[in-house]
């Protein structure tokens, strides 16, 4: 809707009243009917009274070509005219009397018109027809300006989206390349750490079995003791046994209680005092392995985010993919109660690894949230079902729904939109699947199946529901 200053609007209303109300010059155009065709001779200037019109323009080069595509026959949409807009202004006032557009009614419409024979009304008061129609021309100019502005911003938006898509494509290629190179490097680090550990272990076994044991204890150390407890114990050993700070710390790692210390005896303590470095050596190699695992975990996550190779086949069992995910996470969920309720679900067209990836990321995320909030009696429940969405034409008719809920802390309202974005994380960087990529991978994968994710979060329960269509949507 074009709005103009009052001193234009008043004469404009007069023009509409005195020129465009004559019943002899009012036409009804049925929906789909032509008002004028492109290049047709037309001596009229129209005012739309009712209904909307659309103007198409066909590129001249397609004229006469054989079997043109549908858009070429009809042409490209140029603008729309709503009630109170004028049509054929330029051809009328330029006296070219040729329409540049094909104008079609979108619904049953009505227009009023004047033609080149219409005389000026009250010229002695309002001047010539051209003079009287200046407000119409101003209105047309404003309308065209508005149209151009809209077109330009739409075009800019389109270019921006295109650039983003290109960037994503480049990034995906780049990430595949980087992933390959990094995996090679990380592979070398990890394998060589293994070799060094094996050889050292063998060598020590032959030369000094006690040191071999210290080395092994360091290499296999997986004690999970709070730093403060460890420090307190080390201090005690330092004072009681006159050990160095470093040796006392190693002893605190190796010996977990008074009983164990008594069992090991003073000679062991003295041995550690002198040879603690063998434990450290083992521990160093262990850290190398852990760091390599972290690195390859991150590489895997980045590769998935970039959209790696996916091989989808028919007949994939969703329930099985959930079971696979749970068995992969056995270690992670051992302190939680897990409830599952598998419904009858049809096999779908999918990549099993991708499905497993979706569930593991959601479940891991739930575990992290509950651990971080120290949720008492943490629970995870998973249900699967087959849903027929009758009547909802916009969605695929059938899909498999998987709901993963937990009784952890609610997801704050203000971050619900953000949790699926890459690099949004409330967690510490780096470990396991780090980088805040987990849920963004879920989103990307689910999108690629044409599925949807629903998130519900309250004080007592937070649930993610993933709906996957049972049939692939094409186009």
């Amino acid at each position: 809707m074009i709005t103009l200053p009052d001193h234009i609007m008043r004469p404009l209303k007069r023009v509409n009243r005195v020129y465009f109300t004559d019943p002899d010059r009012i036409l009804a155009v049925p929906a789909g009917g032509d008002l004028v065709r492109q290049n047709e001779e037309c001596h009229r200037l129209f005012l739309v009274l009712r209904g909307n019109f659309v103007a198409y323009r066909r590129s001249e080069t397609f004229e006469g070509s054989h079997l043109p595509a549908e858009t070429q026959v009809r042409g490209q949409e140029v603008f729309r005219a709503e009630p109170r807009s004028y049509v054929c202004v330029q051809s009328f006032f330029s006296r070219s009397y040729h329409s540049s557009y094909h104008i079609v009614a979108l619904e049953d419409a009505e227009v009023a018109y004047i033609d080149d024979n219409t005389p000026a009304i009250e010229p002695e008061l309002y001047g010539s027809l051209e003079q009287q129609f200046i407000p119409v021309l101003v209105h047309e100019l404003a309308a065209r300006n508005f149209r151009i502005f809209t077109h330009v911003s739409e075009k800019e938006e389109a270019v921006r989206l295109l650039q983003r898509a290109e960037m994503a494509a480049t990034l995906s290629q780049l990430s595949a390349g980087i992933a390959h190179e990094l995996n090679n490097a990380v592979g070398v680090i990890s394998r060589r750490a293994d070799f060094v550990a094996d050889h050292l272990s063998e060598f020590l076994n032959e030369e000094a079995p006690q040191n071999a044991e210290l080395f092994r204890l360091g290499y296999e150390d997986d004690s999970f003791v709070a730093a403060s407890d460890l420090r307190a114990r080390a201090r005690e050993f330092e004072r009681e046994w006159g050990l160095s700070q470093e040796a006392a710390k190693v002893l605190a790692h190796v010996v977990h209680g008074e009983d164990e210390l008594a069992q090991r005896g003073a000679s062991f303590v003295k041995h550690v005092g002198k040879n603690y470095r063998f434990w450290e050596l083992g521990h160093d190699l262990r850290d190398l392995q852990i760091a390599a695992r972290h690195a390859s975990g991150i590489v895997r996550a980045v590769k998935l985010l970039g959209g790696g190779s996916s091989s989808r086949t028919e007949g994939v069992n969703v329930n099985q993919s959930v079971k696979d995910a749970l068995s992969l996470l056995t270690n992670r969920i051992k302190n939680m109660r897990v409830f599952t309720q598998f419904g009858e679900t049809p096999a779908i067209f999918a990549d099993l690894t991708e499905l497993v990836q979706i569930w593991t990321n959601i479940i891991k995320n739930a575990c992290d949230a509950m651990e971080h909030a120290a949720t008492p009696q943490p629970e995870i429940s998973i249900t699967t079902s087959h849903i027929h969405a009758d009547g909802l034409q916009l969605l695929p008719a059938e899909y498999v729904a998987v709901t993963i809920s937990n009784n952890g802390p609610p997801i704050p309202e203000e971050i619900r939109d953000k949790i699926f974005q890459p690099s949004f994380t409330t967690k510490k960087l780096g470990l396991d699947f780090g980088l805040g990529l987990g849920l963004s991978i879920v989103r990307r994968l689910v999108d690629s199946y044409g599925g949807t994710i629903e998130l519900h979060s309250s004080n007592s329960i937070t649930s993610f529901t993933v709906n996957l269509p049972t049939t692939q949507i094409h186009g």
């Binding site: 730093a227 403060s228 700070q245």
Partner: protein, 157 residues
């Protein structure tokens, strides 16, 4: 226990161990302690202070669950007991805003990027240790072999 302490803070034990190992050349003269996070570090500092120990330098990771390194160093800066304590932020990922925050709120004396070069970390810590000894009025002579002499001379003259 009239002993000089240096405390390293990181929530990833593997990284923490690496920092500790790189600072080991100092261990003959000062006590190296590690803490797994902000709370653990503050508890440790209370304990050391209560036992009459001195805390010369705190080296903290930035990104940790709960409070950040900047938060921790800011608290240390505000504590009268630790007014001479020097602060180092060790980080692999710092935005411009983080950096500004670290200087204004955390009042850090040094900023070390991950992955760090052991020699650079060590020399930075030696320099800060020297400054601490002078500020706190502790006799630096017993520490001559780990002191940063240019810093010492510039302060003495």
């Amino acid at each position: 226990m009239d002993k000089i302490h240096i405390i390293c803070v990181d929530d990833q034990p593997e990284v923490l161990d690496s920092v500790m190992r790189d600072l080991r050349p100092l261990s003959e003269y000062v006590r190296l302690e590690d803490a797994s996070g902000t709370t653990d570090c503050l508890r440790l500092m209370d304990q050391v202070d209560a036992e009459g120990g001195h805390i010369a330098v705190v080296i903290s990771d930035q990104v940790m669950p709960g409070e950040t390194g900047t938060d921790l160093l800011g608290k240390v800066a505000k504590d009268r007991r630790f007014r001479h304590t020097r602060k180092v932020l060790l980080t692999g990922q710092a935005t411009h805003a983080d950096t500004i925050n670290a200087i204004n709120e955390g009042q850090v004396d040094n900023y070390v990027e991950k992955p760090w070069e052991p020699e650079k970390l060590l020399s930075a810590v030696k320099r800060l240790l020297t400054l601490y000894l002078l500020d706190a009025g502790i006799d630096y002579k017993p520490y001559m072999s780990i002191i940063d002499t240019p810093t010492l001379f510039s302060k003495l003259h």
